[in-house]
Amino acid sequence: MPAQQSDSVPVGVEFSESFVEADGFRIRYREAGSGEVLICLHGGGGLRISRAHELLACSRRLIAFEIPGFGQSPVNDRSASMEELAGTMNAAVTALGIDHYSIMGNSFGSKVALWMAILRPQAVKAVVVVGPAAIRLPNQGPPPGRLAPERAAELLYAHPDRQPPIPPLAPEIVAKQIALSARLLGPPRDEPFEARLRALPMPVLALFGTHDRVTPPAGAHLFREILPNCHLVMVYDAAHGIDADRPEAVAAIVDDFLSRGDGFLVRRKSGIIYP
């Protein structure tokens, strides 16, 4: 049978680690690459650099923030709302001297990303949401962060056996992250947020894993219905951890979308077999 393992060849991209001050938070971030800027916001499990991030950093400057209150950072009880947290993250981008950028948010991070775009529509060129929890069907499954690592792996990945084990997090970090996500994520349908989304000017790419049980593809249509310019894409054989299950597929479409905007609908790869 054909090989499916995706991580046979290392990408060879090294991420550096730094901190930036914004709104009184000391925010950790990891960075690689050069060129147009892509800001990445992680999901409820915290900052993680996937192979998709590495691949994307080959053609752009990728900055992956650790949202205040995640990982080793102190408990964040100051960000009163998602809107306020997004303002902080935009301030962090500005503090890095960046004027124009695109944003990619996974799961919980999708709502931060969309709020950042709402707040700075002139600065944000495009938004990518991956397994987005920003708009949800009622009664969607539990966030994987609340499950034991083995159960979380089953829920996160279409093929848990092909993934490295999820590194165990200290219980206090897990508790802190869960509390922050639960406090800020908001209801499945957040009317004031959706009203703002309806006026979002830039293109949005929404990626859903066909096997995602956390943010299932059944809810994907909501993004098309609410956002004025949203491209839905189903990533086959991926669960909630889409970029872990199908890193090459995710990186390729995100790169194409960021490079060509709405024009990415039109294929530009040559079909010539032999010249």
Partner: protein, 366 residues
Amino acid sequence: MKAALFCTTRYDGPASHSVWPAPGDTYSAQWAERSMQTTLERFRLADEMGFDWVTVAEHHFAPFSMTPNPMVMAAALTNVVKRAKVAILGPDIPILDPVRVAEEIAMVDTLTQGRVIAGLMRGSPNEYVTYNTNPAESRERFEESLQLIKMAWTERQPFGWQGRYYEYRTICIWPRPLQQPHPPIYISTASPESGEFAARLHLGAGFAFTTVQIASQSAKYYRDQCRLNGWEPSAENIIYRLAMHVAPTDEQAIEEMREAGGGLPSVGLSFRNRAVESAVASSGYYGRDIETQRARLQSRGELMDRIDKGQVLVGAPDTVLGQIKRIRDILGAGILDMVVASQLGDKATRAIELFGTKVLPRMQEL
């Protein structure tokens, strides 16, 4: 039980039935036209006689079947078959464009006012040569394609697909299937891999040109897998395809069927090009149960042996009804998909008539 009439649209003129691809040097447009009209007439008759389904299928480069695109024949049937369901069993989806398959089935479903049965197949080994597709990727292509087709039928918002084998930026088909959420889907479940996949996705199971014994083992595996996935398939979830010939007496039916070479070609389509079959086999196409699968496709024998194995129904109406009951008891299939020996000409047509009047009403009560 339900009865389906399967016509391959066999080319009834002189042609080679032992090699693949069959050379076209004996091809005659008149024979081809006549053969297609015969098929349409038989389907019309089956519909009038009360057959539950009529069946079309995809095969390439062979006079055995002149429906390389079964959708075209299915569309033609919308003017011929007024009542029966039109079973497209099926397009060979790993060698086709899945979006096109979704569109065509939705179109025929709308034209037939919701009478389409969607059999989504892998096709026989030789079909991988047809459009130059790597058979090693057959199963993965099949599984991905089927899930894409389902999504094209059900997702109402335009969506892109970032697959392993298929990539589309935006899909939103018109027309959409009339049956909601989509037409019933069947796949061939001869192999354990297919049985597991069908069980996981709640698909119907089909067994074709095998033996009732081999099929019953595969059907048991399929049912076990369905239970593991939390559902119980009904008899109607299982289709069994075989040859059929009915005549007023057993003797006549047997004699006529012998005249037709036993109702099945002496060499199955897959084995008419040994080099192709062998190269496909070495690619891993057959999966983990390769020995059984290859043996199944080569299982040919004397007519009485074929009757015994449940590969053909032959005899007077009462005899055939007994053979049907036996298959039902062993296999639990709810639908028999029957192919008549086209080379018998009018006798094959009369067999459909006789089956329709003398067997079908009693079979449908089983």
